[in-house]
């Protein structure tokens, strides 16, 4: 590769360029690889090392036998799962409207989607605190409409965490769904209805199966991201329903048990990698299927 690049520059005439030759590919990639090796990979490896003092698995043993840790991991899964289901369920009609609602609708819905996407997670969580507090807008609204007569406790509960997380993950979930849906030809639904199928049957037999790759991608993405949430549960949740990221922070900030904290971090990293690997696998499988069909 290096040779090819140099070969091309043999008939150099412009004097100014001599000696200022751009380094070939290998050198261009080096700074990034070195930088990330030093400041990204090394810290992660360091965590692994700290979590295994003298090669002992004691911290991992502790994590997987102590009810407190198991509960936190369980809670993390539970919240992530609920958040994923709710997020995808809300994202589905939204993405449908974006894909099939016409140009004006697409513009409006995209703007509504991107504005929060660009406002920091911290600020949005802050905003939810204000909205969900006992004297907040949500409770005011619910009382005014007569749905409840005393303020609901929303903040510092799993409910608050779920609302905040769904809000943050929604744009991530909508985009893969939209990408898949806009390729679905709505005339298939017309074909289905002229074949005698009700809307519901057509949706179940035609539209939904065709949108399934988007559902999978969006669910795995939302789940993967949800596992590592820290700010939102810390601000909107109660310490009782802690998620794993908070537990990790706690080990470093308060307990000062770095080994255990590192082990928890490694567990989270592995869980995330597995979930994300799943994402890659699903995508690869779908691409393969698509290609096979193209070739045929």
């Amino acid at each position: 590769m290096t040779a090819t690049t140099n070969d091309r520059s043999v008939p150099v005439k412009a004097g100014s360029s001599r000696g200022f030759r751009l380094p070939p590919a290998f050198w261009l990639i080096v700074p990034s690889v070195l930088f990330l090796a030093l400041f990204f990979v090394f810290p992660l490896l360091k965590l692994v090392a700290i979590s295994l003092p003298d090669g002992s698995m004691e911290y991992y043993h502790q994590i997987f036998t102590t009810p407190v840790f198991l509960r936190v991991i369980g809670e993390t899964f539970r919240v992530s799962l609920i958040v994923t289901v709710v997020t995808v369920a809300i994202a589905y009609p939204y993405a449908y409207a974006m894909a099939h609602g016409g140009r004006a609708m697409l513009l409006v819905l995209t703007i509504a989607l991107l504005i929060p996407f660009w406002v920091s997670l911290l600020l949005r969580s802050f905003s939810w605190i204000v909205l969900l507090q006992n004297s907040g807008l949500v409770n005011d609204f619910l009382i005014a409409t007569g749905l409840i007569d005393r303020p609901l406790r929303l903040i510092r509960t799993p409910m608050g965490v779920i609302i905040g997380m769904v809000h943050i993950l929604l744009p991530y979930a909508v985009l893969p769904l939209y990408t898949v849906m806009k390729k679905i030809d709505l005339r298939l639904m017309e074909a289905s209805s002229i074949c005698g199928a009700s809307w519901l049957r057509g949706f179940a037999r035609i539209y939904f199966p065709l949108s399934l790759p988007g559902v999978m991608a969006s669910a795995i993405l939302a789940f993967t991201l949800a596992l590592g949430f820290y700010i939102t549960p810390a601000l909107l949740g109660s310490p009782r329903d802690m998620m794993i990221a908070q537990m990790i922070a706690g080990q470093f900030n308060e307990q000062l048990n770095f080994g255990l904290g590192a082990a928890l971090a490694v567990v989270l990293m592995v869980l995330t990698a597995v979930a994300f690997g799943l994402f890659g696998a699903v995508r690869a499988a779908l691409q393969l299927r698509g290609r096979r069909k193209e070739e045929a």
Binding site: A25, L28, F42, I90, L114, V130, L131
Partner: protein
């Protein structure tokens, strides 16, 4: 039946859009309230909270830290990321997929894991509680955004242009400066904006690496939110939202100028 379904569908979509927009939209008006607690709808109108924030020395210090760190991280990430993206775009080499994976993985690694890992490593190197430490950490987070953005814009460039320039006798550096760089400039600039915003908004790593002298605006907000919710926080939030909006507009402008 058909009509009912349609009404229900649009109701759900409208409510979802409101759900998405509501938290962002209420912050700005709340910052103008004359009350000492956060109220929505706001009571009266005052710029007092903005004055309080802008006048306070700790906010000023944090603002300076944020600007310096975000600027430095953005420059560093843009240089490193652009070089990497160019290499990935123009050359095939063994292990390219792995390098690509490495460059993008900070985007999907849970920030808390990065934060504690960096905390452990950086404390050994004397980088904790320094601006440099934060710059390096934020650069890690920002590199993937620059790579993605530059790669996207270099895919739109006619791949035969650079060889054509070389074939005409121009040198590599000359070719890069006069042909390649101008063509990928929109991607580089929008990557730089992304990088800036990434650092500007970052809170988790900063929580572990910053001290009272090096703390950034998000840390100040975090502390405010955890202790007392007052309209000053909303004022800061409003300022940040406006800045983010400007950044977004800027990055879209760069992309449009392609």
């Amino acid at each position: 039946m058909d009509k009912l379904r349609r009404i229900l569908f649009w109701l759900v979509v409208t409510l979802t859009a409101l759900f998405l927009l509501l938290p962002t939209l209420i912050i700005v008006p709340m910052s103008f309230t004359t009350t000492t607690t956060l109220e929505f709808p706001p009571v009266g109108f005052t710029l007092e909270w903005y004055g309080k924030v802008i006048g306070a020395s700790d906010w000023q210090g944090a603002l300076l830290n944020s600007l310096v760190i975000a600027f430095a991280a953005s420059v560093l990430a843009t240089v490193i990321g652009t070089a990497a993206a160019l290499a990935l775009h123009t050359h095939r080499f063994p292990g390219k997929t792995i390098v690509m994976g490495l460059l993008l993985s900070p985007m999907v690694t849970p920030v808390i894991v990065l934060a504690v890992g960096m905390y452990m490593v950086f404390s050994g190197w004397g980088l904790v509680a320094t601006r440099l430490g934060l710059v390096l950490a934020h650069t890690v987070l920002a590199i993937p955004f620059v790579v993605v953005s530059v790669l996207a814009s270099s895919r739109m460039v006619n791949p035969s242009l650079a060889p054509a320039s070389l074939g005409l006798g121009a040198g590599h550096w000359f070719t890069f400066r006069r042909v390649t760089l101008p063509l990928i400039m929109p991607g580089v600039l929008s990557g730089a904006v992304f990088a800036f915003i990434t650092s500007w908004d970052e809170v988790v790593i900063a929580l572990f690496l910053a001290d009272a002298q090096t703390r950034t605006v998000p840390i100040m907000i975090w502390n405010q939110v955890r202790t007392n919710l007052d309209p000053a926080t909303a004022a800061v939030a409003a300022i940040l939202i406006v800045l983010s909006a400007l950044g977004v507009l800027l990055s879209y402008k760069f992309r449009e100028s392609r």
